[in-house]
Symmetry: C2
Subunit: 456 residues, 2 copies
């Protein structure tokens, strides 16, 4: 496929010019002052998809920012690839830390510096340009649909409903997403899993008012003491979570897949040094990457109670509270886990206190099995371009919309991310290496090619 | 001693007038706007002591508010009683909750309503009037010294040094204090112990910055999770404190004294109802009163870390902190306990976190043995006036200056308090029943009489 490299080489500057024009639209979804920019960015995407060779493209309204939909249907017998991306970006504060204007992209040191350079304008635009490449070189082997939303950075509040209402339109064999990262510029990887989340708030109430710790200390259950005991009991000495039933649905990972994942290069010393910690920590029997990738976890995200000002105040607080979240692995249902947590946390409350448990937020985990056709195709595509087999990586984080796609549309996603950890997404001085951008455009047509061949 | 009742009856109104004039001086020690009032209250006390019959009285400067010293030395062979009290009062906020002016005393329902009515203008002034009574009826059997300070409500910051510098002047056999309470108007009691205090602040640091709980959750020690485990381990399932050496110096209370204390009327149901708790709680093998009176305790007074705002934020905090105080019983040295705590808390910190422990505040406990002569004299005095033997009561709280007296001057205190729980000291609508005021004035001369007899 010499034409791929050649087409990119000949159109490089134009690709960048077009991406830069998109980046210059400050489409910050969380700031209402940018409402018009959301529409501008959507219009830009509609035109880009059409110019790239789509049969049609349109801006579809939602309860929030619009979704850009486009398609090129070439052959009913060919597979349908649904490209998902987003045109909205994160805010730019603290602005004073940026070395160049966030919405005026600059190339320095072989990288594009701007808000959205990676997340997700740069990464999503690779798909527009790879699509154009395939159309213009008459090598498009699949039907293609585009769904580019404008609310990913605020949690995709409208996209679930949009999918519900457009199931037929969005029908596809696979959803193709570039909104994650890879291990290093020379070490390709594919994100095969995202964790789910059950986020709880608990409140322990003891006496009906704050008490003097001298007059009552030792005779009345202190809600903070009790809360610490209750939280401490949620994990055992091996850092295993003690909530009954918690692990019932945890996906069993094959030894083969664990071995495959273990090949991912990981510098433990650098990891520890970056966090300034002496040792890593976690569930016994698992590596650091496994602890965030394939195992659930329980973290207190916040705790408060009593006197927290300067100096000493001898008070026994009436209440103590904590926010406790559990990261879940695929097949653990967040609603079921929230219910198990609530039941257990209420059950372990000692007499003398009252307990209130509230589920604040939740989302399902997601997994792309490595034996899935799309995974195999992606694997082969990376191997072709990078001359190295990509590493399957489970991310500890969550992209809730990916599990929503599976729930609502019944379609798996393949996460072909080209971001790097150094890209500083969501932070000042976001950047995206030119090499990643062009390698992405080069890898995507191979994915289409191998996927079409394997789906035959 | 018919003369006691008679003298009080004949001078009642004047006693109240004089007390009211003292109360009208708004001597709030924590508010600098009242600096002049501190001096006015001190002057008032100096005059009151002189008028009551002292040979001399003076205002002695300290680094803070002055101390009023007065004395009447009648016989080198008679014991010396040093009366301690304070002329400063607490602030009056929230002022809108007062039913009458805090510094304009009113008599309603047989009580004096005003800031300081009990604490400690009312209670201390009983001593001036009992002294006057003894002087004017030629029945004073002891040498008397007065030490009335103006900083008790802010922790007596200057009085320790004052004692250091005036050891000879303050030489006495016993310090007589009315700044505590009794169980009920018809149930006299003597406070025989005050707990000490060691107040610590701890900080647990994990990673050097806040982390995303998805990407790192389960792989890095979360300082809040760790802190809850560390705090939880400080007490066992029987609510016994696990710090090695913690109980080494705990005073052993004789069965006789425990039995005596157990006679103190205590309504457990009313106690639980007032706090809205189903059960009481505490160290196994001890009653509620024993848990606060004769046993040490450990309470978390405050805890904080991570995200404590509304909703869900998926963060692993870099640090978590808590304020932890231990109430100590007599013979437990607060410095030693603070050191034991620091050593233990540091020792139990798991690898992966750093721990910082700071001692914020401390004070020694205090005990008046019931076999002490002054206790026996007080016991007999209450029995004479109330026709009922007083109950020895250990208070869970602390009056640090009382242990300072013992440390610096080597003199024990006898705590003959006439306050009631309903007096609302430190709160709006402070009050002091007339009955308590006059019964106090009546009881004190009997104490002097019996104490002089027993010391012969």
């Amino acid at each position: 496929m010499e034409h791929v490299k050649k087409y990119i080489e000949e159109n490089k500057d134009r690709f960048l010019d077009e991406l830069f024009a998109l980046i210059r639209i400050p489409s910050i979804s969380s700031e209402s002052a940018h409402k018009d920019d959301m529409l501008k960015a959507a219009e830009y995407w509609k035109d880009a998809i059409l110019k790239a060779g789509a049969d049609k493209a349109e801006i579809m309204t939602t309860e929030g920012n619009p979704v850009v939909y486009g398609e090129k249907l070439i052959d009913p017998s060919a597979p349908i690839v649904l490209v998902y991306g987003h045109y909205d970006v994160m805010p730019v504060d603290p602005i004073e830390l940026w070395k160049s204007e966030p919405f005026e992209p600059e190339i320095r040191d072989g990288k594009i510096w701007a808000r959205g350079a990676d997340d997700d304008k740069g990464q999503a635009f690779m798909h527009a340009k790879a699509f154009e490449l395939m159309v213009n070189t008459n090598t498009l082997p699949c039907n293609v649909k585009f769904m580019i939303e404008g609310e990913e950075e605020i949690g995709s509040p409208s996209l679930g409903k949009f999918c519900e209402e457009n199931k037929e339109l969005l029908k596809a064999d696979i959803i193709l997403v570039s909104d994650t990262g890879m291990i290093a510029p020379d070490i390709p990887s594919i994100t095969t899993g995202l964790r789910g989340l059950a986020y709880m708030e608990v409140e322990v109430t003891g006496p009906n008012k704050d008490l003097h710790s001298g007059l009552f200390g030792g005779a009345v259950a202190n809600p903070i003491n009790v809360l610490t005991k209750m939280i401490a009991s949620l994990t055992d000495d091996d850092n295993v979570i003690t909530i009954p039933g918690f692990y019932d649905d945890v996906e069993t990972i094959s030894d083969a897949e664990r071995a495959e994942m273990a090949k991912a290069p990981f510098d433990l010393d650098a990891y520890k040094k970056a966090l300034d910690i002496d040792v890593v920590w976690g569930e016994k029997g698992y590596s650091t990457n496994e602890r965030t990738g394939i195992r659930p976890s329980l973290d207190v995200n916040g705790i408060w109670g009593g006197y927290t000002g300067e100096g000493a105040k001898t008070v026994i607080a009436s209440t103590a509270s904590a926010k406790i979240s559990m990261r879940l692995v695929p097949h653990q249902d967040h609603l079921k886990i929230a219910a198990l947590f609530e039941k257990h946390f209420t059950a372990i409350a000692p007499t003398g206190v009252k307990v209130k448990v509230t589920a604040l937020h939740g989302g399902q985990g997601y997994v792309s099995p490595t034996d899935m056709t799309a995974y195999q195709a992606a694997d082969k595509a990376y191997t072709t371009v990078y001359d190295r087999k990509p590493v399957p990586v489970r991310s500890g984080g969550s992209i809730p919309i990916i599990s929503t796609f599976e729930e609502v549309l019944g379609i798996k996603s393949i996460l072909m991310g080209f971001g790097l950890e150094s890209d500083a997404i969501h932070s000042p001085n976001e950047n995206y290496p030119l090499e990643q951008f062009f390698n992405g455009i080069e890898t995507i047509p191979y994915f289409y090619k191998y996927y079409a061949e394997m789906m035959k």
